[in-house]
Symmetry: C2
Subunit: 652 residues, 2 copies
């Protein structure tokens, strides 16, 4: 049975689900506009992928990235794209390039810290890539810890200039995206030093390469840091300053400046609040974008599992069974599917909260920032890790063939992987949230107000011994809340004990409570995600689609609750209901079998984006594999591989 | 504090531990011989790695693999290596090449199935790589299921020849290691067809390429299947036969032949037993070799964590803390360390069992095969998966720098990854073991004898309510046994129920009990590993080393038991002892802090094998990174990257 027949089994209208999903994912771009842009993108060769990319040398990949950046600029300008549309176009082909970093990362950072005059001065040149900038914060020796940055910008009041210096090996700027070969300018985070006094980190927009020749300027050592596990198109670079002199005007002066008298002057006391808000933005975006890669991987794996057959069917020994008819394959792939839907629903809630915070920030009201920072750090930590895992599960679900680059999954995995580390190592971020949560517990004890998401912690612990419907959203939510309640209260109690014993807070949170902190934060994370899932479900109008996604909710809830079974029983859940939840789970896997292809194809990832021999819409797996190996693979160019003639045969 | 000072803190003699470990790992090679071979290898450039490998194109990698194969042949011949020594040399630089496959995979398969005459005919040519063979079983459409193989060898009794054919797209041989560009011959598994009758799969040793020109022979289509996630040196290939005629002598005839009258004749009825034994051998080897890659990764990550500093030390704010002084880093890396030691101890037990089985097989006594098959499948499934995870944990523990190829960990991960899939997909193998275990339960019910490892299942369920020492090996073992007891008995009961309801066994094990089967098998796996760990510990004579590794045992036991906390309480463990186990765990992490470098350096992985800027013995992390980026990275060859001139600047 081919994929077309499989599609006929789906119980809901896939196109309607697509509309619903994109209303969640991109609420400020109309569905018609999404389709229009997509159609246009698919006609621009430099924006599309072909299987040949898997043969790229690093140089090929860098060149492809440059051409892709130029094609992006063209469509942005021609279509006059809004910021949301730009992010959609960039997300469409999820590869990091200097141009993507320019639009998505550098320009927001620049615009945040530049004065109005500075913004006006550079806007056009940045927008059309005439100036390519990079955001140079991380150093060889310091990543997460901004205060440890060593690069110096020494103010010379005689000449009204800065002298930039990299005083140590560890002070080399490192990992800076776009710096390696592309950028002309860098937004450098450096310690401002005035009269031998360290004024703390500031940002300086300095030229790096000659605008005419692209040669590095005197006093600058710059280059690419070398090959990475993925993201070959990205030119992550290093940078060293050696008494490099720049005019005073390179300092970004929205928040502070050195005035004409050579004195340091604060212009806007909201600097910390605004920078904090930009940090939150980055983490919100990483959580929001996490649906993308696993959706591509799952499209490939689910289609392949409906084509690939293995071992005779016990009911019909003449035929072989499809992979998706094995329970273990279902359990793996449908758990991925459930997580993808969970991420989409979390995305919608996070976006709403973020937009509200942005509205308040217009009046410099940072009242939502604390909550949003904790929530986005928590989500970034767990969601990116979960998305990485989902991609790898999908790859292994394609068996041996998933290891071929042509399968399309390895490069997704390798390129998405660093999201667990950049913009804050996941463990560090989750621990920040855990500490926020113990403060919530303290506020509850003091009777102070707390954000909505945490109100259940102020109520009595949910009773699990009453109505126990093993399939119901409300019972599952009560379970999550009860577990989270116990874990967070324990954590707060343990912290209080250690503080009482005279231990310093920093010591507690580096040496004693890190493991428990992460475990407790995870219980709250699931409680929050499951709440968002229920909310998302309530918005679906088609009853068949709703039912199909309700099974995914059950899968999400029960697979997560499983590891807390012991605690749940201790909290009053009957062992019987825990066993019954397992039956509910198995039934949810079975019920999802025929809808799986509709649930994943609703995301409408086109073949060009999958770039996979295993996942094409037409299901022509084996012909595609054979074609790629025989006709595209450069190793087969000559009938005898040259290295055999050169190295092997003379030695025989 | 540099690494040398860290080394002084170790409480035991590292060299003595090294001797102990290699006595476990390679019991039949003396320690002096291991060191001697190692020293010699380190002097042969073609056998050693340099950072330049991370810039290799696929072609560079293939050529490197060829040269490495020739260098291996030279040292094997010069040193007159035993099989164990060969495996040691090959394991030293863990990269799959055609030559490694020749010695480690092809020759055992060939020798197993060839007649004495055939063996004698080819021995010398195979040994010196004059003939390079490959084992061609897997097809595009069939991997795990050998019975589904479609390639045909049709016996033509007129001409006393076979006509080899690949009748479908899916019947292309695929993934065959060494076939892509290197091999001259292939050991092809094909259906033997005589008088239109399918005689089942047989093996045929057929020439593929011209021995003089290396050109593919007429009737053969052969090539490399394309780029993979890792293992770029390996030339996995495809092969298609088109009425390819070969003489009758190509059939391997240890077990059966076509006699002079053109009749099929069985020569040795032990074929199945012997083939089964070779399957077991492959799985035993995969489990045994699994210590290797994570040991390299952990050497890198632990050294780096003793160099890299991050955030000020709360006790001494002028200094920064080393990564290894964070609880979360300890918990991650020491759990890896515990798993590495567990694999080593399992390896020793598995080797003993395997050798005993081989001794019996000499008299065609296959009485140990069933048990060994179940145990090796179980171990292969869980241990390779666990080793993969360990490598990735180590990579993430290196923060952002772990993503650089120069860190040395990404290529390990990518190259070891397929071990989860080849020689049997892990899920499938574990399910085979689960089914074996339900049969053990049935045997117990019938009072039949069972292997030692399972005897605890025949005894009463261990009491957990008596002596509960949260740190003791015997209490931990009782916990594992109790969990395993309950899980396996439940599984057997569930299977019996479904059988009673008239369901077919094949249906039960594909649609109903796969998830529970894997979960139950995992509980037995941990019970077995922990038993082997205790046994291994008992062999250590140095009390300080023993204590250090006892902490690793605690870490292994408690991190694994953690997820069963609920069940343990239901089985009579007090909630209090479960909490205390957490304290024991945290203490074990702390106690391992100063010994970690000794525990990992005892494996003596030299810098040449690590090929890492982060993990060098001298701890010169940052200088090495800078050197590699500045002086080795080919992207920095010219001061302006050519692609910028070619693509970007004309469009500005």
């Amino acid at each position: 049975m081919g994929l077309e027949e499989e599609r006929k089994k789906v119980t809901f209208c896939v196109e309607n689900l697509t509309r619903f999903l994109y209303a969640q994912i991109l609420p400020d771009v109309s569905f018609e506009r999404i389709r229009e842009l997509k159609d246009k993108i698919l006609k621009i060769p430099d924006l599309n992928y072909t299987l040949e990319r898997y043969h790229d040398t690093r140089e090929d990949a860098l060149n492809r990235g440059i051409r892709q950046g130029l094609a992006m600029r063209a469509i942005f300008q021609k279509e006059n794209c809004t910021e949301s549309e730009r992010r959609m176009v960039m997300g469409f082909f999820p590869e990091i390039t200097a141009a993507v970093l320019q639009y998505d990362f550098f320009m927001p950072a620049f615009n945040l810290q530049a004065s109005e005059e500075q913004k006006a001065q550079y806007k056009e040149k940045l927008d059309n890539l005439e100036i390519i900038g990079c955001y140079a914060q991380t150093e060889l020796g310091h990543g997460s810890n901004v205060r440890g940055i060593e690069t110096q910008a020494i103010y010379d009041n005689q000449r009204d200039e800065f002298i930039m210096n990299s005083p140590t090996v560890t002070s080399h700027k490192w990992w800076i995206g776009g710096l390696g070969v592309s950028c002309s300018h860098a937004l450098v985070v450096a310690k401002l030093i005035m009269n031998q006094q360290d004024m703390g980190p500031h940002t300086f927009f300095v030229p790096i390469r000659d605008m005419r020749t692209h040669e590095p300027l005197p006093g600058i050592t710059v280059g690419d840091i070398g090959p990475k596990m993925g993201n070959p198109c990205a030119d992550n670079g290093f940078l060293r300053f050696d008494n490099y002199r720049v005019p005073k005007s390179v300092m970004l002066t929205r928040f502070a400046r050195i005035n004409d008298k050579g004195e340091y002057e604060i212009l806007d006391p909201n600097a910390l609040k605004v920078l904090y808000s930009s940090l939150v933005r980055a983490r919100v975006n990483l959580s929001r974008d996490a649906w993308h890669y696993p959706t591509i991987a799952a499209t490939i794996a689910i289609r392949y599992s409906l084509v690939r057959e293995q071992f005779p069917d016990p009911e019909n020994p003449q035929r072989e069974r499809k992979l998706l008819d094995y329970q273990i394959q279902r359990s793996k792939l449908f758990t991925v599917l459930a997580k993808i839907y969970a991420i989409v629903f979390v995305r919608a809630v996070l976006t709403e909260k973020y937009n509200e915070s942005e509205r308040r920030m217009k009046n410099m009201d940072g009242s939502l920032l604390g909550e949003l920072h904790a929530l986005s750090s928590l989500c970034k930590g767990f969601i990116t890790a979960s998305a990485i895992e989902c991609i790898e599960v999908c790859r292994r679900c394609c068996g041996g063939h998933g290891y071929s680059m042509y399968s399309g999954i390895p490069h997704l995995y390798a390129s998405y992987l660093p999201s667990a580390t950049y913009d804050g190592d996941n463990s560090i971020l989750i621990l920040q949230s855990a500490r926020y949560m113990t403060n919530i517990i303290k506020k509850i004890h003091k009777g102070e107000p707390i954000p909505d998401k945490y109100v259940f912690l102020a109520n009595p612990i949910p009773h699990l011994s009453g109505d126990q419907n093993p399939a119901s959203p409300s019972f599952h939510q009560a379970c999550f809340q009860a577990i989270s309640y116990v874990s967070l209260n324990n954590l707060a109690k343990r912290e209080a004990q250690f503080l009482k014993n005279g231990m310093k807070k920093e010591k507690i949170w580096t040496e004693i409570l890190q493991i428990e902190g992460i475990e407790a934060a995870e219980t709250f994370f699931h409680t929050s995600v499951h709440e968002d899932f229920i909310k998302g479900l309530s918005l679906i109008t088609d009853p068949n689609a709703k039912q199909a996604i309700e099974y995914l909710r059950q899968i999400y809830a029960i697979t997560q609750l499983d590891k807390y079974a012991g605690i749940l029983i201790n909290l009053g859940a009957s062992p019987n209901v825990i066993d019954k939840m397992k039956d509910v789970l198995l039934e949810a896997f079975d019920k999802t079998r025929d809808n799986a292809i509709g649930l994943i194809e609703a995301f409408e990832k086109p073949d060009e984006m999958l770039c996979s021999v295993l996942g094409k819409r037409d299901g022509n797996v084996y012909e595609s594999m054979l074609f790629a190996a025989k006709h595209l693979n450069p190793i087969n160019k000559s009938s005898v591989y040259p290295g055999i003639q050169k190295y092997l045969r003379p030695k025989l």
